[in-house]
């Protein structure tokens, strides 16, 4: 066990009341798998959550490009509802082609949203995570990382202030553990939020395997067989399939810390100290003139 790892457990009450988090992912199934438990946990502890999808998911769904965009759009709304997000933003950049877009344009849009929502905390891809073969992931991560601090600068996009939207810095970040070997310094216990995570995953039907249970159940029925695990309705079949076959990583991440389910993150805290160091120094060292 790495002693530098912080295990974040459930906190009683609503310690985050008044705070806002934004979960920014590229594709429908990113947040549900990488951080669905964390999102549910933070919301239960008082955060107001918003979800932002940057791509249009046109490549996934098994239908025409247009039909894929529609099905992913609809499922994104359902998935967001399952995790209790207050609002959903879809930016619709073309799936698998985001390394060709203007990085400054997507950053500008994220700055507006972060300022408008007064986001305290983001949950997204690690822009520096190795092994990331999907360009949409690192483009999203980089744009988020840059927007977090630039959102606090009044000379960046000053026209936002004309609309009454003030500069705002994002101080806390949870970066996904998306690929094997990526760094993490925090393990979040999501055991008590696994049902919400499952609810989110089963809405990911165009991609993410959310409907594999019901598909398997139908296939077996044609063969005159059934799996008791999958019960007697599609919804239960999807949930139980996901619980049994799709949460293996979360179980593995938790096992090391005696947790049933966990998610891994690289957490960055840039909140200023309650008392600036210089004030402390002045208090200790100032002398009379």
């Amino acid at each position: 066990m790495d002693t530098n790892i912080v295990v974040e457990k459930d906190q009683p009450g609503y310690p985050h009341r008044g705070k806002v988090f934004a979960a920014i992912h590229a594709h429908l199934d990113d947040i549900p798998y990488y951080a669905g438990g964390l999102c549910a946990k933070l919301a239960s502890e008082g955060y107001t959550g918003y979800i932002i999808r940057t791509s249009n998911d046109e490549k996934c769904g098994g239908h025409t490009t247009a039909e894929n965009i529609l099905s992913n759009e609809q499922e994104h709304l359902k998935m967001a509802a399952a995790l209790g997000f207050k609002d959903v933003f879809d930016l619709y950049y073309r799936n698998h082609r985001m390394d060709g877009i203007s990085s400054i344009e997507i950053r500008g849009r994220l700055i507006l949203i972060f300022r408008m929502l007064k986001v305290d905390t983001v949950i997204t891809f690690n822009p520096w995570g190795h092994g990331e073969e999907n360009p949409d992931h690192w483009v999203t991560g980089r744009a988020v990382e840059e927007a977090c601090w630039m959102g606090g600068m009044s000379n960046d996009f000053p026209e936002h202030m004309e609309a009454g939207i003030q500069p705002h810095s994002v101080r806390e970040r949870y970066y996904f553990y998306a690929r094997s070997g990526q760094p993490f310094n925090r393990v979040v216990d999501i055991s008590s939020h696994i049902e919400e995570k499952l609810n989110a995953i089963v809405e990911c039907r165009s991609q993410g395997g959310g409907n594999r249970g019901s598909e398997l159940r139908a296939r077996l029925a044609k063969q005159g067989r059934r799996l008791p695990l999958l019960a007697n309705d599609d919804r239960t079949a999807d949930r139980e399939y996901a619980r049994r076959f799709l949460l293996g990583a979360d179980q593995d991440y938790g096992k090391e810390y005696n947790l049933r389910y966990a998610e891994r993150f690289y957490y960055i805290d840039q909140r200023p100290p309650a008392k600036p160091e210089v004030d402390d120094y002045i208090e200790k060292n100032a002398v009379s003139l």
Binding site: D87, F89, S102, E159
Partner: protein, 356 residues
Amino acid sequence: MKRRRFLGRSMAAGVALTGAEALESVRPARAAETQPSDLPSKFTPAAHALRRSAYSPFATADYYTFADDLVLEHNQPGKPHQGKVLAAIQPHSDDVPLYCGGTVAKLIDEGYTGYLIRISNDEAAGRTIGYGVVQNEIDNHEVAKALGCKKAYSFYYRNHRMDDDAEIEIRARLIFLFRLLRVNTILTMDPYDHYDENPDHLVVGRTVEAACWMAGGSRDYPEHLKAGLKTTSVREKYYHARSPQGHNLTNRIVDISSYIDAKVRANVANKGKGPAGTAGSALRRELAKEGRKLPLLGDNDETANFAYVKHFLMDDFRLLGEQFGLGYAEAFRYIGPEPVYSRNIREYVNQHAVPL
């Protein structure tokens, strides 16, 4: 060179067709005469080289192509544009003052609320880049004041390098501003200004043109609507050409005779770049050192700067006005509001529908 010569010949013939050659300047301007045309008479000229001032290259276009439904826009009494908003968008601090300052002042006087938006940082003009950007920033605000604009904005993209910027990002910012300010009308560089050699001009023209209609679509940047902005379509556009190179299709000539002094003041306010600013007082000082003076420049710097700009730099606009029987004029490709097609169809239905 050959291209210029050929087109020059064409213009002269065009002017003859309109009979405008009869209009002679009453001022002692050193107006450059158009070259005689070698265009065979079987050809109808497609563009016109009007008589131009010899005092400044940065005024009116080298060639004009006129639409046959050209409109002369005169002063309108009262405040017919009350409640409407215009945005004058310029790459550099001297573009709006030189090319459309009179029209901006006129429209604001007729009721528009005006905003000035500068897209570049104007770093290419100044003693150092730092001094240049500061002076041009100041100038942009002073130009806005001189024209009667409510506010000036600057986007600060690097001067002469805007073809390296992401147009979609500039467009997004313009869409945000058009929605925020509820812009009805824009004045800017014509995105189809032929032979314009400055990349900043073309980038600005293109991004403005695209932003005008996209600002009206709720699917473009829907987060703006969540931030409290409303979609807005820019319905009227005044596109101007760049000079000396550059020409566009002209379908509107605006009479700026009553606003020439406002235009002059806007150009005088532009000290960081361009031909105006303090050129008059500098000339006055230079002559004084030689023991001479120009009565035109008066007895103080303020008068000198104003008179210099009006006499020398506005001469092209006077010559353009002469062609149309006006004191001073500016030329535009004007694009007005689209008809309400659905209403027209409904009217047709109401007039022609018969019982089943």
